[in-house]
């Protein structure tokens, strides 16, 4: 079986998000189609950011001199003390925004404190809420979050965040 490399998959997700975004206000679609495009654009955009963050983590975890906690965090695990009084690693999924703060704080010249003052961080939090409302829907879902403006906000935020994180941590040629 051929594996899709994570860095390639990010591009797939972003292309897919763009595809949905372009069609939201197209005259051939309305009603539920439009809402489906909004949902898909938001989810795919956000997934691209998650994939990119995981990509950074997949590089960062090879660093020497990381603490055990830092290394388990990068592997999406956490340390827990078991019934025998021994530390064991168990699976833990961390919010994307938390991962961003950790990566910037540990692997770049930017402190998470400073990053939290930026417009980008504000938009990341808004985007994360929008995405969470769609992925974990409660009794009633606000239709206010199902429009092109919101989808575009998430899409733009994700692209900006990817560029920013790339620039501050990997310092590679931008993936997008």
């Amino acid at each position: 079986m051929k594996h899709i490399i994570l860095s390639d998959y990010i591009k797939v997700l972003l292309n897919s998000a763009d595809w949905y975004l372009e069609r939201i206000n197209h005259k051939d679609y309305d009603g539920i189609d439009k809402e489906a495009f909004v949902v898909s654009a938001i989810i795919n955009s956000w997934s691209a950011l998650e994939a990119f963050i995981n990509y950074i983590a997949s590089v960062a975890k090879y660093a020497n001199r990381l603490s055990q906690h830092e290394r388990t965090f990068l592997n999406e695990m956490k340390l827990r003390i078991d019934d025998n009084g021994q530390f064991i690693e168990c699976r833990e999924y961390y919010p994307t925004a938390t991962k961003i703060l950790f990566l910037l704080n540990r692997f770049s010249s930017i402190s998470s404190k400073n990053f939290k003052q930026t417009k980008l961080w504000e938009n990341v939090k808004i985007s994360e809420d929008l995405r969470n409302n769609l992925i974990h829907p409660k009794e009633s879902l606000s239709s206010a979050s199902l429009n092109k403006g919101k989808a575009k906000l998430v899409n733009d935020t994700v692209k900006e965040a990817i560029k920013y994180l790339n620039n501050k941590t990997l310092k590679a040629k931008s993936i997008i």
Binding site: I10, V59, Y62, N64, S109
Partner: protein, 423 residues
């Protein structure tokens, strides 16, 4: 008319036209040349290609400043406002040096001028070539310093363009040649060349190449300096190098490298340094093995870069840096030096795998593999490859797995050290 005592024509059989003659007379009458001051005649030459008359003489700074016009134009009749000279480059390091030289009394020569009063009459010395020298003279030269000028007379548009072109055509001197000239200036002499010959990088009686690409594949001064500087940089590094993303150093080219100069002054004789000599010989052994295998193997021999893989600057610097770092771990150093033996029938640097390497998501599409570029990232990757190779648990050859592991380590440590620096 020209007085016989004032001028000497290059050849008496050449007929000088009336207009040129008038302009020469005017020049002689109005511009105070050094030759005139000492009552010597001007030499008038004839350029048979452009069919123009000119003289070579000398004037003082103050006279040049008074009459020079740096906004000369090719076509004063119709394009007077468009100057022929390129824009002045005030920040160009050569121009800055030029000004310092001028201040110190440098006599500049061969400033190419047309004597022309057809436009801006009070500034008849139209500069066709040497505007940076002229500007340096204007700004810094003491007023009684003499400078050599070449003055053309009675040019038409085509002749003017031709003279301007030849005055501004420079065959660039290769930086490697400048390095070699600077090296030859150093005392004691032959220090670097003797070292290169001793380790077998240069054959006896051969000198360094005057450019990187030369028929005999002679190494350049830059390569040898880079080797030495990196060896000592590595040797003097005191922390735990396995944990870091260290990048080797590339010596500057085009003259002198300050890091090299420091080491040159500190070390009496390179060939007396046992560890440096051993490193040098081991490097040459690696290069020879790489060259020989890549010259014979049917998959390798079609590409010259595979043969010369060891002498790529990024490779030289990183290899030498690693050899310096490993001086305090003799076991690892021995393994590192024995790469040419341990690689058996294969090329020790595994040029094909290195060329095929690409770190997905990190490297651009145009990336041509390890050891082709010489930027700091590339040098850092190569240092890590050699450091990783030297570990006992690593295989005896450089293979794809080693390349991938080392490159990941390099980037991860680079990111972490960035974080360390600022927290």
């Amino acid at each position: 008319m020209l007085e016989e005592n004032d001028f000497i024509l290059q050849n008496k059989t050449i007929k000088i036209d009336k207009e040129s003659q008038q302009k020469i007379v005017d020049f002689f009458a109005n511009v105070k040349t050094f030759e005139k001051n000492i009552k010597r005649p001007l030499l008038i030459f004839y350029d048979a290609k452009s069919k123009v008359f000119y003289t070579e003489c000398h004037i003082y700074t103050e006279e040049l400043k008074k009459f020079k016009d740096e906004d000369a134009t090719i076509d004063p009749d119709y394009q007077e406002e468009y100057r022929l000279n390129r824009a002045l480059q005030p920040d160009n390091p050569d121009f800055i040096t030029m000004q310092e030289d001028a201040k110190g009394g440098r006599q500049f020569s061969d400033i190419v001028i047309e004597y022309n009063k057809d436009y801006r009459e009070n500034k008849p010395l139209k500069i066709l070539g040497g505007q940076h020298r002229t500007k340096a003279i204007e700004k810094m030269s003491p007023k009684h310093t003499l400078h050599g000028i070449r003055v053309y007379f009675n040019l038409n548009k085509d002749q003017r363009a031709e003279i301007a072109r030849i005055s501004n055509t420079n065959i660039t001197i290769a930086d490697d040649l400048l390095d070699r000239m600077e090296e030859q200036r150093l005392d004691p002499p032959n220090k670097l060349r003797n070292f290169a010959q001793k380790i077998g990088l240069l054959q006896k009686s051969k000198d360094f190449g005057d450019r990187k690409a030369n028929i005999e594949n002679l190494p350049t001064i830059r390569l040898a300096r880079t080797f030495i500087v990196n060896f000592y940089k590595g040797k003097n590094y005191k922390s735990n190098f396995d944990d870091e993303a260290l990048e080797s150093y590339l010596c500057n080219s085009g003259g002198m490298d300050q890091e090299y100069l420091k080491i040159f002054r500190k070390i009496d004789n390179f060939i007396s340094e046992k560890d440096l000599l051993e490193a040098g010989k081991s490097f040459v052994k690696l290069h020879k093995k790489q060259y020989n295998i890549a010259s014979k193997d049917k998959n390798l021999k079609r590409i010259k870069a595979y043969r010369m893989k060891a002498t790529v600057l990024a490779m030289v610097s990183s290899w030498a840096y690693a050899s310096g770092l490993l001086q305090r771990h003799k076991d690892r150093l021995n393994k590192f030096y024995s790469l040419p033996d341990k690689s058996g029938k294969n090329d020790p640097l595994n040029a094909i795998q290195m060329s095929a390497f690409k770190f997905k998501g990190m490297d651009p599409e145009a990336y041509r593999g390890l050891g082709t570029r010489s930027d700091s990232k590339e040098r850092g990757r190569l240092v890590m490859i050699f450091i990783e190779y030297s570990k006992e648990q690593s295989k005896d050859i450089i293979d794809k797995a080693l390349l991938e592991r080392a490159v990941r380590f390099y980037h991860a440590n680079k990111m972490r050290s960035e974080g360390d620096k600022f927290k």
